[in-house]
């Protein structure tokens, strides 16, 4: 491992920064400036709040799982339900913010990448409603695996650019989207879904998703609960930063991020915070899955949305300071968690969210009846059902 890098912008301790080709530095600087100005403009903040209510469907419920908690015994489980956002995932929150920012900046296109398709759907939806073009870069493997979402994007008028890669996950599409943006930065806003992005995106994403956490906080307060644990699934960590950010530094709440442990053997996984090393990838200095030559390793997990070799710099920072701790859940545990939650609570969550649920289920028996675990559900699992059925048919779980 190398010495620390000293970043000059968007720092989270030694992590973060803006590691990009020169062509993108200034476009990013313009986004950063526009973002700061927007935040100090009350009318923008108000517009954003209203859009979250009217378009996204905020507030989303905090659902107590009484039946499941009773069955398992120990603590009580509650879910923060971003699967009930417009489009079925938390992505709508971010997409709405990007669209408002693009309008403010006078940009006509939203450019981004999508792997599960969730973010693509969210971007295409809001783009359609605000007369913004939407161009999405998608790896060929993801395109084929997520045909339902891709069809939806098409129906919403989004333009899909296929990136020729046989590996699933956002990596290749992300590169292609950024490359495209480098030559179209004056007409379009780059809209990464990944928290592992160059500054200003990590701070922008954290701010624009923070309502997930603050809303959860006021909902637990309302119920007179001070959660023992708040647990979020972590791929690149955008959803996680939105939910967990609010609880960082709390004396009474433990903050947990769950990454994809894949096969559970420490070989095929996407657990950058457990098995990765600090490095620069996707424009930010953070934990990266890499070999001793600094080559990026392919992440692996059943959950396409967690299939990323790196993680947002905030998580790298929190892992280092101990403000949050990061664990893994395996493919098998996650599939079992989807099933368990469906059968006992009637809620079908995405395989991504299921990683956090799996860990939450393990925590419950260690707690007492006055102790609460809040698990963040990043998205609905409707589009996973076909895959689960197939896995079942094959009698395997990867």
């Amino acid at each position: 491992m190398s010495e620390a890098s000293e970043t000059t912008v968007g720092e989270y301790g030694r992590f973060g920064g803006r590691y990009v080709a020169e062509a993108i530095w200034h476009p990013l600087e313009m986004v950063a400036t526009a973002f700061e100005e927007a935040l100090s403009d009350d009318s923008f903040v108000q517009e954003h709040k209203e859009a979250l209510a009217r378009r996204v469907g905020r507030p989303t419920p905090l659902t107590p799982l009484d039946s499941l908690s009773d069955n398992i015994g120990g603590g009580r489980l509650l879910l923060k339900r971003e699967d009930l956002c417009h489009g079925g995932s938390y992505s709508a929150n971010l997409a709405v913010a990007y669209a408002l920012l693009a309008k403010r900046m006078g940009r006509e296109w939203l450019v981004g990448e999508t792997s599960t398709g969730d973010f693509g759907v969210a971007l295409a939806s809001i783009g359609a409603s605000m007369d913004l073009g939407v161009r999405l870069f998608v790896g060929r493997a993801d395109l084929e695996a997520e045909s339902l979402n891709m069809r939806r994007i098409d129906e919403l008028g989004g333009v899909i650019e296929t990136v020729d890669t046989s590996k699933r996950g956002a990596k290749a599409a992300c590169a292609e989207a950024m490359r495209y943006w480098a030559t179209h930065s004056s007409s379009s806003l780059y809209c990464p879904s990944q928290l592992a992005s160059p500054d200003p995106y990590p701070r922008l994403i954290q701010r624009f998703l923070s309502s997930i956490g603050t809303e959860t906080r006021s909902q637990t307060d309302e119920r007179g609960i001070d959660p023992e644990y708040v647990v979020a699934p972590i791929g690149s960590g955008a959803f996680g930063v939105g939910l967990l950010g609010e609880f960082i530094g709390s004396e009474s709440t433990q903050v947990v991020g769950v990454q994809a442990g894949g096969d559970g053997q420490g070989k095929k996984h996407s657990a950058s915070l457990t098995y990765g090393k600090p490095g620069v990838f996707q424009g930010t200095y953070s934990f990266v899955l890499q070999d001793q030559n600094g080559q990026i390793l392919s992440p692996s997990t059943i959950a396409a949305g967690l299939r990323t070799p790196t993680v947002g710099p905030q998580h790298a920072r929190w892992a280092q300071t101990g403000d949050a701790h990061y664990v893994t859940a395996t493919n098998q545990e996650s599939v079992a968690a989807v099933r368990r939650l469906a059968r006992s609570e009637g809620i079908v969550v995405s395989l991504e969210a299921a990683h956090a649920v799996a860990y939450g289920l393990k925590l419950l028996p260690t707690l007492g009846p006055d102790q609460h675990v809040v698990v963040g559900i990043s998205g609905s699992g409707v589009h996973e059902l076909e895959r689960l059925a197939k896995l079942e048919a094959e009698g395997s779980s990867e």
Partner: protein, 269 residues
């Protein structure tokens, strides 16, 4: 800056012929061939050579160099291989500048100081790091400067005047202009000339243009407003063809480029 590089960088200002820089990917198709190719290009007239140290995810490069990196990765090109290539080349050539380029994570994996040590020992003159903008480069630059190695900054169509001023003030050698970022060149000739004029108003340092140049004629046109060219894809594409005569074809292209660069400018004679 090394003496070697200093001499070259001074040349355009002294009215000498434009600079020709050619790029090859280390380990494409194998380490010995790379040394061969570098020597051939130098012999045919390249003033500077870029040794692209392959990275698994060459985000900002075009398809040709992406494919070359993939080929090279099968060879697992380590920093030791980079040392071998540098040393091998220096055994045959002492005048042509040699710069290692890569993505930042490859540098970090070894560390700033060790990379600077290695490059210096192996006869390199500096580096270019595609995803390391000037602002983030201080630790690497400091390590390089201890060995008189240069960190070459890029300039893009989006680079504003303040950044040009900052880079000009802090850098020591020359600039590379990238009119694209892996995609097509999107700038019109007029915009390109305007950009170069702006650069000129800020900096006296030479600037080499990297914009998918593939023939002597294109090179000659570009150096009407720049101090030289960096030819990457066109070289690497020849390697992709393989076959026994790759060396001959590389030499021929470099020779053609050299010839057109050295000819007096069309309009101004």
């Amino acid at each position: 800056m090394t003496d070697r590089l200093q001499k070259l960088v001074a040349r355009p200002g002294e009215g000498g012929p434009p600079l020709l820089m050619c790029a090859v990917v280390a380990g494409d198709p194998h380490v010995e061939a790379t040394v061969e190719y570098l020597s051939t290009l130098a012999d045919a007239g390249a003033d500077m050579l870029e040794l692209i140290v392959p990275f698994s995810d060459p985000t900002y490069h075009g398809a040709v160099i992406q494919r070359a990196c993939e080929r090279a990765l099968r060879e697992e090109v380590t920093w030791n291989h980079v040392r071998q290539i540098g040393e091998g080349f220096r055994q045959r050539n002492d005048d042509t500048a040699l710069l290692a380029s890569s993505y930042y994570n490859r540098i970090l994996s070894l560390g700033h100081e060790p990379v600077a040590d290695l490059l210096s020992e192996a006869g390199f003159d500096g580096t270019m790091v595609t995803d390391l903008p000037w602002n983030e480069a201080t630790p690497l630059r400091e390590a390089l400067h201890k060995h008189d190695l240069s960190f070459v900054p890029f300039v893009a169509p989006t680079t504003p005047r303040e950044r040009l001023e900052m880079m000009d003030a802090e850098s020591d050698s020359f600039f590379v202009w990238t009119g694209h970022a892996g995609g097509e060149v999107t700038l019109s000739r007029r915009d390109f000339e305007a950009s170069m004029a702006e650069f000129r108003s800020v900096s006296d340092r030479p600037i080499l243009s990297s914009m998918k140049i593939s023939s002597g004629e294109e090179a000659a046109e570009v150096v009407e407003v720049t101090d030289g060219v960096l030819v990457g894809s066109a070289i690497v594409w020849l390697v992709e063809g393989r076959g026994a005569d790759v060396g001959d074809r590389l030499g021929a292209l470099a020779g053609e480029l050299r010839e057109h660069l050295d000819a007096p400018p069309k309009d101004q004679t």
